[in-house]
Subunit: 233 residues, 2 copies
């Protein structure tokens, strides 16, 4: 296996509705190579796609009706926190809506189709910069049983969401049992380590990934579990 480099992309300006993320990335860095995987945070994708809604800046609960609107199913409520399932199928706090790193008086919703968002960035980077890169759109989610949030993938393009190791054998020649690795979630988590929540780093380059993973991919199709299939639920 090769070493991996995870490189923060600095110099991306504050993103406005209508901005082209691929333009901003290729203006910020000339260091893009075929086979790189770009991790782009949901926040700037949502901003570029105009997924911003005005809320009452003096009412700390004014985004709550948006959470209900963006949810197809409410799983839990406590105080002003809601755990729900979004139209994409993601289970997360407050339907992925948050207020950090957006202008006061605004809330950012998730992209409507985050896999399509990833494909758009990948396609425009190919056209604009001539590079064949994978793209992962990341967001910050909590999870059951374990404290602390981690970054996961909500969209991908040019890379499989899951690497299927079924049928390959381990170092001792036994067939592997645990087989389907959510590599896009691991990539999103890895990229978060160079972003920091308070630094203005919204894009990172992950360089050195296994080229066998580069294929058509889709987070919603590959990662969202059918409830009937989910023993952990």
């Amino acid at each position: 296996m090769n070493a991996l480099n995870i490189i923060p992309v600095e110099g991306i300006p504050e993103v406005r509705p209508g901005d082209d993320i691929a333009d901003l990335i290729s203006s910020a860095t000339a260091d893009l190579r075929d086979g790189d995987c770009l991790v782009v945070t949901q926040k700037i994708v949502s901003k570029a796609e105009g997924r911003l809604v005005d809320i009452d800046p003096d009412d700390p609960l004014s985004h709550k009706p948006l959470v209900e609107q963006e949810s197809v199913r409410i799983l839990r409520r406590r105080g002003d926190l809601i755990i729900s399932q979004t139209s994409h199928g993601f289970v997360c706090a407050n339907a992925g809506i948050d207020l950090s790193n957006v202008e006061h008086g605004q809330a950012a919703l998730l992209p409507i189709d985050s896999d399509r968002s990833a494909r758009g960035i990948r396609d425009r980077l190919k056209a604009r910069a001539g590079v064949d890169v994978a793209v992962v759109v990341s967001d910050t989610f909590g999870r059951p049983w374990r404290r602390g949030v981690t970054d996961v993938a909500i969209g991908c393009a040019g890379i499989g969401a899951i690497a299927d190791l079924r049928g390959t054998s381990d170092a001792l020649g036994r067939e592997l049992q645990v087989t389907e690795v959510a590599i896009v979630d691991e990539i999103a988590s890895a990229a978060d380590l160079v972003m920091g929540k308070s630094a203005n780093i919204a894009v990172a380059i992950v360089r050195g990934l296994d080229s066998a993973w580069f294929r058509r991919g889709n987070v919603v199709e590959e990662i969202v579990r059918d409830p009937s299939d989910d023993l952990f639920r």
Copy 2:
């Protein structure tokens, strides 16, 4: 933020009970530096600590009594899969017992105290190689709502399990809402990207982490959720 390098450590031999992991690592690589974080897979830690149990190689269910014995609470059963909580507090499939990458006729149990295992490796690397490194012990877990497994931390030393960003402000000066990042889980996931499940890579070096994260850390104390506090549960 700095770039991160994730370097697989090759040349670690098959680990036997009684082996010293720190010895094996420092024999395999001279490239260890103060401030590195070593990620070591549970499998070799369990082997070195002799957490191996003989099972009937001809009975595919012979490890199931071990799963019950290693569990303090069974959450779900389906077919031969059990989701349970271990004595450490981890919720995972089959109490973390698996049969891949161990000799036929044996099963590997989780380390008894995986934070202590991490501390032991860290302390012995300091004594043996004179380097001040953090250590994360990783394992491969499933999770609810999302397909695919990811690597998470089951033990750590010399690094906080959680980076607490409460009170810091975002790039627009707003106080951050999402605040406690499970950095050791993100580090374990990042390292898995250079390990592969079938390659014989059981150790990786993560170089370039924020030095502010290096402190006393403990996965069981910091990451395992109090059930009463777990809205996702």
